[in-house]
């Protein structure tokens, strides 16, 4: 009996603690409408992750360059690769104190999940900040030097060639599916959840191509282990004047835009126009600084500054291009 009482006591203490924490969680100084006064930066990765570093860098540059006087805490909502962050923002309609660093992944996450609690369409896009140029890498000793030659090889050996990458919902697989469709070829997709095993898969010869950002491959290329066979951009990139773009190679991307990976800022639904204006002013100041330009360069990002209708269109185009592919994958897993 006594032991039961003790267990009960412990259980009660735990419940009290839980209740206390819940209370902390729900009290949030609501700064609805008007100018933001207590901003929190929502990201979809934990400390050290891509979006986390991106947001922290923005704040650091803004503070260094005196654009920002206070400090904006970076809050991680990492559930479901963007879904958690989007759902969190959806629950704060009209609240001008929350902004988030979104990526193209968020759009796909919303499409791929039937039970998605929120999608990009729910949020207020504020500004597009950067575009990460995607390139196609292959082992240096591969018998093909361009994507066109790879496609020819894939056609000769249907279902034999291997592309490595992340989740099947990632944009590199989606764009590959589109190319397979338009070119009438078929190859395998080998998923790894980390980047490093993808590179070793190429080096080992288990995989033939990998679509990613230039910094993922730069050092291996320099060491003569990998080579580029195509660039998803409207012009050739610095340092690789001999690598033709996808358009030059006349590979049909179907509905896909050139922008495959991008980073931007979005707010909760129904954010007041003056708040959107406030953030656009803030980011135009940050992006004008030298610190920002240097940062983007070091990360291999191309600066962009797209707002308003143009931004809405850009997001919609990407969304329209990926939607049928994602839907097709759910049907045929």
């Amino acid at each position: 009996m006594k032991t039961t009482m003790r267990s009960l006591g412990v259980a009660a203490a735990t419940v009290a603690l839980v209740a206390g924490l819940s209370a902390c969680n729900s009290t949030n100084a609501a700064g609805t409408g008007g100018t933001p006064n207590n901003v929190q930066f929502i990201v979809d990765t934990g400390p050290g992750g891509g979006s986390d570093l991106f947001a922290r860098e923005i704040i650091k540059i803004a503070r260094d360059e005196k654009v920002l006087t206070d400090n904006w805490p970076v809050v991680a909502k990492p559930e479901g690769g963007g879904l958690g962050a989007m759902a969190f923002l959806k629950g704060k309609p009209g609240d001008s104190n929350f902004i988030s660093a979104f990526t193209s992944k968020w759009i796909i996450a919303g499409q791929a999940t039937a039970s998605a609690p929120a999608t990009m369409a729910d949020l207020t896009p504020i500004v597009m900040l950067a575009d990460e140029i995607q390139v196609i890498a292959a082992p240096a000793d591969a018998p093909f030097n361009t994507l066109t030659e790879f496609l020819a090889a894939a056609k000769a050996n249907p279902g034999e060639m291997v592309q490595t990458g992340g989740s099947p919902n990632s944009v590199d697989n989606l764009v590959a599916l589109e190319i397979e469709k338009t070119s009438g070829t078929k190859w395998k997709y080998l998923s790894f959840d980390d980047g490093a095993p993808r590179i070793t898969a190429l080096l080992r010869g288990d995989a033939q191509i990998d679509i990613g950002a230039l910094p993922d491959f730069a050092d291996q290329i320099e060491a003569g282990k990998l080579k580029l066979i195509g660039v998803f951009a409207d012009k050739r990139i610095d340092g690789f004047p001999n690598v033709p773009t996808i358009a030059e190679q006349k590979v049909d991307l179907g509905e896909f835009p050139d922008h495959l990976q991008f980073r931007g800022i979005a707010g909760p639904p129904k954010m007041a126009p003056e708040a959107v204006k406030f953030y656009q002013d803030f980011f135009s100041k940050v992006t004008a600084t030298d610190g920002w330009k240097q940062y983007l360069k070091s990360e291999g990002l191309v600066p962009e500054f797209v707002t308003g209708d143009e931004l809405t269109t850009q997001i919609r185009e990407f969304s329209d291009a990926t939607k049928p592919l994602v839907a097709g994958m759910v049907k045929n897993p």
């Binding site: 603690l17 934990g46 991680a76 959840d193 050092d219």
Partner: protein
């Protein structure tokens, strides 16, 4: 010997009074922060404290980070041994023998052994990194999905061999662990598994929440039924009983050597990591030991082998990082981020292009470990006094830390509800004498095994021969087969090669189970 010269030069540039001060600060900070569950993960500690190190010159910053890293790792072992709370994945295995030793009043020697074997292993790790990096790098590249799958199959088989007296209960525990590990979005199809449409489950069950529930809170729940107002565990008096004896060290020679080699090799494979390294080293040691019956009841070797692996893994993980530019585990990916922030791009040519940074990094890793042992060996008597805290103070503290720890991983209330669920599960396991450790091991190894097997089958168009066609995976699978045959043989034949194993067969209690009842009835 060019490599040796470079290493000595690296040590020289790392060994300035200022750097020494920072490495000590790093170790202390890392230990303090690492004691807290949730922050205990060395990768998280590094990520959180990274901005601090950026104010320093690159070499100093990296040295401080190495100190932080080792401090956090030691803290993880400390809480696992003293309180049965693993604050990071690689210290889980210490809950097996480390905590049993603490229950027998040998907490000090266990912690000392953890620090000493860790130090020896990282010494060996640094030496291997210095001389063997190019060869090991080739091995790391050759280690693909089929090889990894074979290693994971080996690992899971070994999990069964450590389940103790009742293989069925161990198997139940392992199966629950495997099931829990499938929760989340499937990597290969994007399909949700057991998420019930709840986005909090999309990324799976958080390891730390599972551990805190199954170990920390469940332990408190079981123990409050027993304690009668006394301190929990006995602490022997005198410094001699607080550090490992020569006899202990002698017994553990083989374990330290085995753990160091295993840890280094596992660490050098991208995707390996210290958790797998420590599990594999522990189970290998149990199967190789002349005293396997002591494992799970407080075998010093059961502390030495995994801790050696845990530490030499760092050296191993630096191989792909420095020679290929690929992070092998979570901690090295933070190191990679740090190198990048300092404007250094690691990669195949790093040793040639930036020797002035590579060798100090290797030297500083080593220095961090050295500082740890200098600082923490004398501190062990103080740490051990944690056990003197009366239960009515300690248990509420553990509960608070567990709840805060569970919350802080992702800042999610949902994880606290999960903590309550796993606490109840862990309590039930203890009441039914089902060992919780196979669950955790399976939870960690399961997804890796599944991914590697499915990746292999994608490559081979579902042809199972891929696992035996590639030499490394064939060798690993062969070893696994030998382990199975040996296990069956020794179980069947009391006079077999490992006769000691059969001696304990009739014992009804699971050796892997903490036995609070026994301890508390002691005068």
């Amino acid at each position: 010997m060019n490599a040796l010269e470079n290493l000595i030069e690296g040590l020289g540039s790392a060994l300035t009074p200022q750097n020494l001060m920072w490495v000590l600060i790093g170790v202390t900070l890392g230990t303090v922060v690492g004691i807290l569950p949730g922050l205990g993960n060395p990768a998280a500690v590094l990520a959180v404290l990274l901005p601090l190190t950026l104010k320093l010159p690159p070499t100093t910053g990296l040295i401080m980070m190495a100190g932080l890293y080792h401090g956090a790792k030691f803290a993880g072992s400390t809480t696992a041994i003293l309180l049965n709370i693993p604050t990071e994945t690689s210290s889980v295995v210490l809950c097996y023998d480390g905590h049993q030793l603490a229950r027998q009043g040998r907490a000090g020697p266990a912690m000392g052994m953890s620090a000493i074997s860790g130090f020896i292993a990282s010494t060996l790790g640094v030496i291997a990194l210095t001389f063997l990096a190019p060869i090991i790098a080739k091995f790391a590249v050759a280690f693909g999905p089929p090889e990894f799958a074979a290693l994971m199959v080996f690992g899971l088989l070994l999990v069964i061999t450590v389940t103790g007296k009742s293989p069925i209960k161990g198997f139940i525990s392992m199966t629950v662990g495997l099931l829990l590990s499938t929760v989340g979005v499937d990597l290969f199809s994007g399909t949700q598994r057991f998420t019930f449409g709840n986005i909090n489950l999309f990324d799976g069950v958080e390891f730390l929440v599972l551990t805190l529930g199954m170990f920390a809170v469940a332990e408190v729940l079981v123990n409050v039924e027993q304690v009668r107002g006394k301190s929990l565990l006995t602490i022997p008096k005198g410094i001699r009983n607080l550090l490992p004896t020569m006899q202990d060290l002698k017994e553990c020679r083989g374990a330290i050597a085995q753990g160091s080699i295993t840890g280094f090799l596992v660490g050098s494979v991208p995707g390996g990591g210290s958790t797998i390294a420590s599990f594999v080293a522990y189970t290998l040691q149990k199967n190789m030991s002349r005293r396997p019956e002591k494992f799970g009841k407080g075998a010093m070797e059961g502390v030495a082998a995994p801790e050696a692996a845990n530490n030499s893994e760092v050296g191993g993980a630096m191989v792909p990082l420095l020679s290929l530019g690929l992070p092998g585990s979570a901690s090295t990916s933070v190191m990679l981020a740090a190198l990048l922030l300092f404007g250094i791009q690691p990669g195949p040519r790093l040793f040639e292009t930036n020797p002035e940074i590579v060798w100090p990094v290797i030297a500083s890793l080593y220095l961090g470990n050295f500082a740890l042992i200098v600082l923490n060996l004398p501190m062990i008597p103080i740490w051990v006094r944690l056990l003197k805290i009366p239960y009515w103070v300690l248990y509420p503290c553990i509960l608070v830390l567990s709840v805060v720890g569970a919350y802080s991983v992702r800042g999610s209330m949902f994880d606290i509800y999960m903590l309550i669920f796993f606490s109840a599960l862990g309590y039930g396991f203890r009441k039914l004498s089902i060992p919780p450790t196979p669950l955790l091991m399976a939870f960690v190894l399961g997804p890796q095994a599944e991914n590697a097997i499915r990746q292999s089958l994608i490559l081979s168009d579902n042809d199972l021969l891929i696992f035996v066609e590639r030499p490394i995976s064939a060798i690993v699978l062969g070893l696994a087969a030998i382990v199975v045959v040996l296990a069956i043989y020794t179980r069947r034949k009391p006079g077999g090669r490992m006769p000691t194993k059969s001696d304990i067969d009739p014992e009804p209690l699971l050796p892997t189970e903490p036995q609070p009842r026994k301890v508390n009835t002691q005068p």
